[in-house]
Symmetry: C2
């Protein structure tokens, strides 16, 4: 079964009509749980320390949600990491779309982005996407991968997140041959070739994020 | 001399009243140049390929700005990286505050965040801050550092960005002792102890980002 998780990041970064929850497990993380209830969606699972919620808000969560996992404010795992454990270990989720993980406080965003680098979560990397109104982040571990062209995005960034060896990008606007790095680096603004369905990446060590993105003007003049 | 640079990230993430440009060099990067001109600030320096500007907009930039550095769309350096070279090598800037570097397209944000990990830019790491409406990102290279408590921020995240050895955090709400990592990790939501002016970090290898942040509700209901 697929799942959708909503974290507590700013709601102005939510994609339009992203709450398509039919036949999916729905997971609320911390304040994301409340956002879901406000949208009249009762999450199957709620996770968090909920310390940012008012007492009445927490009572609502506890009344509505059947499976609640409480995290400790002083903890080894972030709420998002505990969510990954519950989704994949307890519920055997096949694929997880995560919203509300970007923007806002950047220490939070980076914790979400880097979670898949930890040994205990790396096995889930290829089953997770982080999505917002103008980005979709997928992850790949070492190997050879066909990266699909996804409609609606103009750019495809290729971002080694840790020590990556022998990275080759082919069938893209800007190819790359056998690149190795000891530190993270963002190859931004690459593109699919016109009228192609995919490009290819291969590398022998590490984890690479693929960031699909587009330009939007929605907030240019707020 | 200090400097302020404005990149092309979304304007809704600009801090309030951030364009305090007295006695500072002002640098516009790509569309950031146009944003400055729209605010009646003529940048001293403009950098970019300007390929997202209309012809009339580019003409305005060329008429107003005295020192323009054109980058190639196909290039080894990003516009932001070329900006660092110009600021520190050509103008010997003492300290650089960078706005418009966060949010929007996350391949761009990560290119800005990871720039200081490249050997040619690492020497500037401790002279750069990336700032937006709820975050301030500073960088430290290996050594022992006093991290100042800055008014207006509640949280202080400590984020090893590459291979970091023997990281110790002391005098913080959550101390850390002699932690080493091969990959980036975000220790989010740490805090200064009440009524203290600083905390201390030390590490023997790598580069660590310090992310000051705060919660804001400004966009909660857009």
């Amino acid at each position: 079964m697929k799942a959708i998780a909503l974290l507590g990041g700013p709601s102005y970064l939510w994609p339009n009509n992203f709450l398509q929850v039919q036949n999916k497990k729905v997971i609320g993380v911390d304040r994301g749980t409340l956002f879901l209830l406000e949208k009249n969606i009762v999450p199957d699972i709620a996770i968090g320390d909920f310390d940012s919620l008012k007492k009445s808000e927490l009572q609502l969560v506890e009344k509505k949600v059947k499976d609640i996992h409480y995290s400790s404010p002083i903890k080894d795992l972030t709420d998002a990491e505990l969510m990954l454990k519950v989704a994949f270990d307890d519920y055997q989720i096949e694929y997880l779309d995560i919203y509300g993980a970007t923007g806002g406080r950047l220490d939070h965003f980076l914790a979400n982005l880097f979670a898949v680098l930890k040994p205990e979560f790396n096995q889930y990397a290829e089953k997770i996407s982080l999505l917002d109104i103008q980005n979709r982040i997928d992850f790949y571990n070492a190997g050879t991968h066909i990266v699909p062209n996804i409609e609606g995005y103009k750019y495809v960034g290729v971002i080694p997140l840790n020590k990556v060896d022998n990275l080759t990008i082919s069938h893209a606007r800007y190819d790359l041959n056998n690149f190795s790095t000891m530190y993270p680096i963002s190859f931004a603004s690459n593109e699919f070739l016109p009228n192609t369905k995919d490009l290819k990446i291969s590398f022998t060590t590490g984890t690479v994020a693929i960031i699909y993105s587009k330009d939007i003007n929605r907030f240019a003049n707020i």
